[in-house]
């Protein structure tokens, strides 16, 4: 991970419209952001799309970054993109409700590729509710402190701590 001075220099380059600086930013964050999206969606192709969307949006949004924790700012955008996707998915679900019910009766488990099928963690993560799952992934991939996470979620730190503890404890139980 680059030092904070290097990161500041890269961000300034991005603000100036340097493709090279954006390229460095992609190299620095693509792995963690992809992991975040992948663990939330359980789908590689969808994670590809969300990751692309995030970085292209970043070109327009980088000017609005006014300092503070860049990771927190970046993962807030990632979280918004994921939640937008979920809302869109819910809209589509309502529109295709009848067809979905027909399909659900035929499908016994979510369709996954072979590599995804053997990922026990992904299967157990899907047993958690969406908010808890997102909280755990935010903690793990964004590397934010609990204080930063609480600020991002606009809730008291005690609430974030409690929810995260319950979620991690549950995940631990599921994985054992």
């Amino acid at each position: 991970m680059a030092k904070s001075d290097d990161l500041a220099q890269i961000i300034n380059g991005c603000k100036a419209g340097s493709a090279e600086s954006f390229s460095q930013l992609v190299d620095m964050y693509a792995g963690r952001l992809f992991g975040y999206f992948y663990r939330l969606t359980g789908n590689s192709e969808l994670s590809d799309e969300l990751l692309s969307e995030l970085f292209v949006k970043l070109v327009g949004k980088i000017g609005s970054y006014k300092g503070g924790s860049f990771d927190s700012w970046l993962f807030k955008i990632a979280s918004n993109i994921f939640n937008d996707y979920l809302r869109g998915k819910q809209r589509r679900k309502k529109l295709l409700d009848v067809k979905k019910r027909e399909l659900e009766s035929k499908i016994t488990e979510p369709k996954r590729s072979e590599s995804e099928r053997i990922d026990k963690l992904q299967i157990q993560l899907e047993k958690l509710n969406a908010d808890t799952r997102e909280l755990i992934m935010l903690r793990f991939y964004s590397q934010l402190s609990l204080k930063e996470m609480a600020e991002m979620r606009s809730e008291p730190i005690g609430t974030t701590l409690s929810k995260l503890h319950r979620g991690l404890k549950r995940l631990r139980e599921l994985m054992e």
Binding site: M1, V59, S69, L144, L168
Partner: protein, 173 residues
């Protein structure tokens, strides 16, 4: 990231629960995070990263073009005003700097009269000239009609010569 590494989970938990319970909670955190590390998510494809970088380059290009267009649209009316002002200024300068236009014209009045400041004398000269011309015209008409006893042609020639002489004298002032 640094702030996360600096945070003390046990202290944080102890703000809300007892010491023993806090210790158990920290252990839950550590165990779950170990599981997450052991089950690392796949890395994004190199092709995906290349495609994203390419998309970013294109997005930057579009933004720059859009910004240039916005500036051009904003500047166009200002530039137009400047051009109009410059054109008007040049025209005004040309008019103002050229000095009075010298008007040239033809005149029936001789230069001596025109340039003279003595109006009374000038009027008198004009009246004499006009009277002489009228008299000569009537004599020419008389001669042409043969009212002077048949010697009209030589008399007309004589009169014409006289007229030329008067005219010449007059214009010389």
């Amino acid at each position: 990231m640094n702030s996360r590494n600096e945070e003390n989970l046990k202290d944080l938990f102890e703000r809300f629960v007892g010491a023993e319970e806090a210790e158990g909670a920290v252990e839950d955190f550590q165990m779950a995070e170990r599981i997450l590390r052991e089950h690392a998510a796949p890395e994004p494809d190199k092709e995906l990263i290349a495609a994203i970088k390419s998309e970013i380059t294109e997005a930057i290009r579009r933004r720059k073009e859009s910004a240039f267009r916005r500036i051009a649209y904003k500047m166009a009316p200002v530039a137009a005003v400047f051009i109009i002002l410059a054109a008007v200024s040049v025209r005004l300068f040309e008019r103002g700097g050229g000095g009075p236009v010298k008007v040239t014209y033809a005149s029936m009045i001789p230069a001596a009269i025109w340039e003279s400041d003595d109006i009374a004398i000038d009027d008198l000269d004009l009246a004499i000239l006009t009277a002489e011309i009228d008299e000569l015209e009537s004599e020419v008409v008389t001669l042409e009609l043969g009212e002077n006893g048949g010697n009209g042609r030589s008399a007309v020639t004589e009169l014409e010569m006289e007229l030329v002489e008067i005219n010449s004298d007059f214009w010389e002032g």
